[in-house]
Subunit: 143 residues, 4 copies
């Protein structure tokens, strides 16, 4: 997994995401992480909307974010996501939030998830999802 591909997602900071300190509010990053892993899934060839429509979700069990440099409105932001674990019932992702051009590292984070069904019960990740993600990792790594 250490070598799993890193998928970038461009983020345009929303004015609504700033706070009275004049910077992006820390809770926005958590939503960006989510957008980042959904972009990862799409790039890997397993759109999360398909997983969700099939009745499965990667419920969040842990979120961690470390903030280094504040982000201001107008700065071009990139969230780079990487799958770091794919187990029978769990997935984990890592994130880097950085300046698109300057490369400044704004923040890092990770998240842990368990697969749940429509009733919220922990279940095994469906085989087609695992296979799709695995094939995506291989394909992206080969590129």
């Amino acid at each position: 997994m250490e070598s799993s591909p890193r998928v970038p997602l461009e983020i345009t900071v929303r004015f609504a995401e700033t706070d009275m300190m004049g910077i992006v509010h820390h809770s926005a990053y958590v939503v960006w992480f989510e957008a980042g892993r959904i972009a990862w899934m799409a790039t890997a060839g397993v759109p999360y909307a398909q997983v969700s429509a099939a009745g499965y979700n990667f419920a969040v069990t842990e979120i961690n974010a470390r903030y280094r440099t504040p982000i201001r409105f107008g700065e071009p932001v990139q969230v780079i996501s990487r799958l770091t674990a794919l187990r029978s019932r769990q997935v984990e992702f890592e994130y880097e939030v950085c300046h698109r051009d300057a490369g400044t590292l704004f923040a890092t984070g990770h998240s842990r998830h368990i697969c749940v069904d429509r009733d919220g019960r922990t279940v095994t990740i469906p085989q087609w999802v695992v296979e799709g993600m695995t094939a995506g990792i291989k394909r992206l790594s080969d590129e």
Copy 2:
């Protein structure tokens, strides 16, 4: 309906709701309106969670908000909600956002809704909801 009771809800401004202008972001009021009408329903004796759990929702068809005076973090806010229409498939609410003590009127707004079932189809508002709301209006008006 003009005389339908006005139900107040105290709002503690969240830091996350401020923006880089140093005031509460205008989108937060829309969420407060929702909290306001849910407080209205609870006070009327028909908790919205019950309506929703029974498979019905008051889907929003229109939102209007007029902003008069900006709100700053730390100011005690009150949203006063009032039902202005209760039809077979529709409800409407009006809102006033004001300073809890000084009475300053920060904003006004209204929303229109249609009743939908679990599949998102427009349906008649269930009889028990209509009766509960009507009884609540009468009881609150008599107080």
Copy 3:
């Protein structure tokens, strides 16, 4: 102004923007409208971050949104924004939220704004902003 150019912005629905009805929450559209008019400004050649950094903001005085068709996670959304008024101290925008491919009209809306300075006082829109916006409208209309 009726002929002012329409600027599209692609929106990827965020999972966080959905609600327990399984559709995008109505407050998200208000944030999308904002992203839409900021995209309009950027396209017109007057990045809003510059206006804001110069100490001016287009404070929202009114928001209106009409919701026609619910939006689901995974649907490709486009917000099309158009300036409908440019006065000495005020601007107005109109929005259409539609399906990127199918063209379904999900919602429409408009917003009114007054220009304020760092202290929140109503002021005349700076000349360079008016000229930039006017030149942008002309340039985009000619394209």
Copy 4:
């Protein structure tokens, strides 16, 4: 610090905070943590609005949240916050999110902060803030 007082804050789940899984979205907890530590400050006698108005802010450097049991709309929630570190430039808080009546532990979390001035520079926490917090801890512990 281990014995610093625990300050509860009642949270009414907002419909907007739910997602299409039918539960509260994980990013809402991060905003609740903030509301929780602001309630802690108020209870300790040092309203955060005063700290912020004086030009100081506790910028977030780290957020961690562990989610145990999903929260549904309508459930009465309580965030219990506790200061776990008060250093010359840093503060840390811990949070428990639980059911107000049943006591179910929904989630736990912690946050780290550095004190910054209006320009975002790391500074020593003002003496009056430290003294106020320390006096508040003592007073609350004695109650």
